[in-house]
Amino acid sequence: MAEPLLQARGIVKHYGHVEALRGADFDVFPGEIVALIGDNGAGKSTLVKILSGSEQADEGEITLEGHGVQVSSPLEAQRLGIETVYQDLALAPDLDGAANLYFGREIVRRGPLGRLGFLDDSAMHAGARKAFAELGVDLQNAQSPVANLSGGQRQSVAVARSVAWANKVIFLDEPTAALGVVQTARVLDVIRRIRDRGIPVVLISHNMPQVLQVADRIEVLRLGRRVARFNARGATMEQLVAAMTGGLDGQGSAA
């Protein structure tokens, strides 16, 4: 198998005297959807926060494409090409889809007007239309504030925003938790399309059937450590649950 694109080794994180991560490992390979699962308190959120720069590890190392990196802040993560879609969507509800897609990275006009900060709205709208279309996201009205969109569409805008800027890895934290059946299917479809474009996706989810349905590989955290890795094809719900709850000793069918 190819070298991991993103690799975490021996990550330790304390909150006071609570040990959230006790030497956790994690791998993301090129072009895959890898699910990160675990019971509540297993350390999933903490690990994602560390890999996306929101928190700093006490010990351990992170390598990206074989080079050691310091993910010292979310901005640094973005600079490295790592984007995260948070559970509480980080969108500005009063701005439209295009403005959200380019929020913080606006395109300005050419020439002196651009230097004064004048925005090139038509370029951003064109770029947004293209970005949404490539992900199969159907925005009836791209000029409407995202607050007017459905939950699934909003999630899609948030995902599209990450895809647009990520060139290494995308983390999706419970992307379908608040969605209905149809909308969930759409978002999963979007996730597959991202993978098919070559950008690996890390899916953090509680939803086992969904994980088995969409992931290529599954890594299981328990009590702050990686306890098992599965190939999604062939893995069963029972195996996953056993790994999450400690009913399984050692490594699962190693990927």
């Binding site: 500005a92 009063d94 004048f118 925005l119 490539e134 925005l139 070559g198």
Partner: protein, 354 residues
């Protein structure tokens, strides 16, 4: 990995020839319906109805050139501070201090111009110096507000209530509570009372400020960040926007415009009018809110604010002309203000339900 990089969606927009589902441009009918759903359209309708009402009632007194000019001139200074207030309220904040920052800046400008003896016959050099002092005074108060809001995390309501009192007190300390009544007559006759063709200079200046404000808000990154910060501050932070610095800039802008307003008020009244600015704060906020800017942030327009400034001005003039006590103006403006916020709430609730 370079192949991955090249696959990024973001896009050279030029090669976007035919996205599979490029939405059709909204037709004119749709645009009109969309406009009707905005507060701005409704409040503009209210403005037109008021003008029509007073014009029909007093066709010989209300819609006259003299009266229109008077209404516009009276509204000019208020419009300038309301433009700054619009930016502040769109960030989800509030600036209660504008009226007294305006007063303070007028006092410092007047004192500067009086520092070299009686300024009545002095020329543009002294006037420009006075303008500079007024702008710097306003900018300083505004920056002070912004730093306290953004860095010290004191709620804007409290910060600007505090600086309201401080600016008022300082203005009185500096002037010993006495109005300064001498300003260069050139300033009074040209800026205060002069006209550009038939339009008073004050109105021209206010219109330019409002136009600039509208352009900055709608068309620049500064405006986009103002909406973004007011809409979801956390999202703005995660998007890498320096939220603190932006908030400081917005409050500084509000202070700067209040300072400019103070200088223009000085030109118009030819005195510092220390006791005459008690209502400026609330009138500015009322104008912004009547104009459809949401107190919770993220929504607002300068066009709306402009209309919001003119509704009280037209009520005041109209009530006097039809012979009502002018005090009724306050009652009417209060009612319009509450109605405007009520409509805004309804709109938000219906949006959240959808």
């Amino acid at each position: 990995m370079s192949g991955v990089t090249e696959d990024k969606v973001l896009p050279n927009p030029a090669d976007d020839t035919n996205g599979p589902q490029a939405p059709a441009e909204p037709s004119e009918g749709v645009l009109w319906r969309r406009l009707l759903r905005t507060n701005t359209a409704w409040i503009f309708l209210v403005l037109i109805l008021l003008v029509a009402f007073f014009s029909i009632l007093k066709p010989n007194n209300f819609p006259t050139e003299f009266n229109i000019r008077a209404i516009a001139t009276n509204a000019a200074v208020l419009l300038i501070i309301a433009v700054g207030e619009t930016f502040v309220i769109i960030t989800g904040g509030i600036d209660l201090s504008v009226g007294y920052v305006l007063l303070f800046s007028g006092v410092t400008a007047a004192q500067t111009m009086n520092a070299f003896g009686n300024p009545t016959d002095r020329g543009w050099d002294l006037i420009l110096l006075g303008l500079l002092v007024a702008l710097v005074s306003g900018l300083a108060w505004g920056t002070f507000n912004g730093v306290l809001v953004a860095k010290a995390k004191v709620p804007p309501l409290i910060v600007t209530l505090g600086t309201l009192g401080m600016a008022w007190g300082m203005a009185q300390i500096l002037s010993n509570g006495q109005d300064i009544r001498y300003i260069p007559s050139l300033l009074a006759s040209v800026v205060g009372a002069g006209k550009f063709f038939a339009v008073p200079w004050l109105v021209v200046i206010a219109a330019l400020v409002a136009a600039a404000g509208a352009i900055v808000l709608r068309m620049t990154r500064f405006g986009r960040y103002t909406f973004g910060v007011g809409s979801n501050e956390e999202a703005a932070r995660r998007a890498g926007i320096n939220v603190d610095r932006h908030l400081i800039k917005v409050y500084a802008l509000s202070g700067l415009l209040a300072g400019f307003g103070g200088f223009l008020a000085l030109a118009y009244f030819t005195t510092t009018t220390i006791s005459g600015h008690a209502n400026d704060n609330l009138n500015a906020i009322a104008a912004v809110v009547i104009g459809g800017t949401s107190l919770t942030g993220g929504i607002g327009t300068v066009v709306g604010t402009t209309i919001g400034v003119f509704i009280p001005a037209i009520l005041a003039s109209g009530f006097i002309i039809i012979g009502l006590q002018s005090f009724w103006q306050n009652v009417a403006v209060g009612a319009v203000l509450i109605a405007a916020v009520f409509v805004d709430q309804l709109r938000r609730r219906s949006r959240e339900r959808s």
